[in-house]
């Protein structure tokens, strides 16, 4: 992937996506994607399944290469992610999983943060004993407490009940600390709660564009 034509990023832009395209087996997932994401902005990718939301995030995470186009603003930048799956080490407890991604996080501070979304009696237990919702919250905590400058969250509130969803949304607002956030969701209320600008899917053109 080409990254920046001689300069790291366009001024005030966290990410500049140019003419991005990706196909699988000759079938285009998306093409000619042109997006400019402002530094510190919150953006929400909304589209039906199969529109390549996860693929776009994976390209930005550096896990896949696009077939066409390039992205400016990724070079030398740390990314924090919430994946579609929780991707936690099952034998480790919540704090150990988070410290794996962020070894610099102090134990006391981490303990305080964990209590924002989890209960005290769950903290010593391995992730393998956690419910789906608890794992999701740990996954979210890991991403927000890691030093990534760019936050890429794939359906971060999936599997949470209404009460924990609200707590998780509030926690994202509190811990984003001005970092650029791009997330996917099927729920418009999550985009509203985070005051996100929507990136919408144009089925006829098979591309993404910022909603006006």
């Amino acid at each position: 992937m080409r990254q920046g034509k001689g300069k790291d990023r366009i001024e005030n832009m966290a990410l500049a996506i140019h003419d991005l395209g990706k196909s699988y087996g000759g079938v285009p997932v998306f093409r000619h994607v042109e997006l400019l994401l402002e530094e510190g902005g919150v953006y929400c990718l909304r589209a039906p399944s199969g529109a390549g939301k996860t693929t776009l995030l994976r390209i930005l995470m550096g896990l896949e290469r696009p077939d066409e186009g390039w992205v400016e603003g990724l070079k030398g930048r740390r990314v924090s992610a919430v994946f579609q799956e929780d991707r936690l080490c099952p034998a480790l407890n919540a704090a150990e999983n988070i410290r794996l991604a962020n070894p610099g996080c102090s134990r006391e501070a981490l303990h305080r943060e964990l209590l924002e979304l989890l209960w005290e009696d769950s903290l010593a237990k391995p992730i393998s004993t956690f419910s789906g919702g608890m794992r999701r919250r740990v996954s979210l905590l890991r991403a927000l407490l890691s030093p990534g400058e760019l936050l890429l969250f794939d359906e971060p509130f999936n599997g949470l009940d209404d009460q924990s969803r609200q707590a998780a949304v509030d926690y994202v607002k509190k811990k984003r600390n001005g970092r650029t956030l791009l997330f996917t969701t099927h729920h418009p209320e999550e985009a509203e709660a985070l005051r996100a600008r929507c990136v919408i899917w144009e089925e006829s053109l098979k591309t993404w564009r910022l909603a006006r």
């Binding site: 995470m61 550096g62 896990l63 740390r78 990314v79 924090s80 992610a81 994946f83 799956e85 991707r87 080490c89 099952p90 034998a91 480790l92 794996l100 991604a101 962020n102 070894p103 391995p126 393998s128 004993t129 956690f130 419910s131 789906g132 919702g133 608890m134 794992r135 999701r136 890991r142 890691s146 990534g148 599997g159 949470l160 009940d161 924990s164």
Partner: protein, 260 residues
């Protein structure tokens, strides 16, 4: 308790059958019973040559195992990290696996003489098993966790310890269980052919020469005992190092997928 009583009962039954068969045959050259075997065993225990042979064979076979385990682990990891290395070493591994142990015994006798024979054979039996299982175990590491490690820039050693080690553990433990038994059987067989001085194989051979069937049985029991103890020791160390996470991982399937 009931299970133990049942097992003891079964064992006593077969020992009785063995003793009865020995009495019926009535010729100790062909078959000795458990009582004569135990008597021969205790007679051997009092001899310095017995301990010298045990230590010597244990040393040779154990060294062969440890060397093969270390090199197998290293080469398996190398083949995982650099597939070209894997392709390069593959014919050697296939050759070691397919050539009969008997041919290696003769070759090793020519190359190293009788003294190093058990070590070489134990090494050649164990190395391919550890190599192939290490490679398979590392390839079985969770791709999703590896991607997570890449995105969060998790350092090399934590990644090895928390992602590769739990994936490798069941493969390595299973390989060791098979390899430990095999290395003792082929190691002692090689000693019988090469008859190095002060070795269990030599003592088995001498028992055959002098028609000391009771000693042949006693030495066989010694091999089974040593092999069992060596296996327990190696697996204990290995499970302490690697088993904890794999045990926890197994509980994931039972408890992990509850809805939240």
């Amino acid at each position: 308790m009931k299970h133990l009583a049942k097992q003891t009962g079964i064992l006593l039954f077969w020992l009785a059958v063995w003793q009865a068969a020995a009495w019926l045959v009535g010729r100790p050259i062909f078959l000795v019973g458990p009582l004569e075997t135990v008597q021969a065993f205790f007679r051997l225990l009092g001899q310095a040559a017995f301990w010298q042979s045990v230590v010597s064979s244990l040393g040779r076979i154990g060294t062969g195992f440890v060397l093969a385990f270390s090199l197998g682990l290293l080469c398996g990891a190398g083949a995982y990290a650099w597939p070209l290395f894997g392709e390069w070493i593959a014919p050697v591994v296939t050759m070691i696996r397919t050539i009969p142990v008997a041919s290696f015994v003769i070759l090793a006798l020519i190359w190293t003489g009788a003294d190093g024979l058990a070590l070489v054979i134990s090494f050649l039996v164990v190395f391919p098993m550890i190599y192939l299982h290490t490679l398979a175990g590392l390839q079985a590491a969770d791709v999703q966790l590896l991607e997570m490690a890449e995105v969060f820039r998790i350092r090399f050693f934590p990644k090895v310890w928390h992602i590769y080690r739990p994936a490798l553990a069941p493969y390595l433990i299973s390989a060791c269980k098979t390899a430990l038994g095999m290395c003792w059987k082929s190691g002692v067989a090689a000693e019988v052919i090469g008859t190095p001085d002060h070795s269990i194989g030599e003592k088995l051979y001498m028992a055959k020469i002098f028609f000391s069937t009771d000693e042949l049985f006693a030495w066989t029991a010694v091999v089974i005992l040593l092999s069992g103890l060596f296996e327990r020791l190696v697996l204990y160390v290995l499970e302490r190092l690697m088993g904890e996470d794999s045990r926890k991982n197994r509980s994931k399937d039972a408890a992990g997928e509850r809805k939240g």
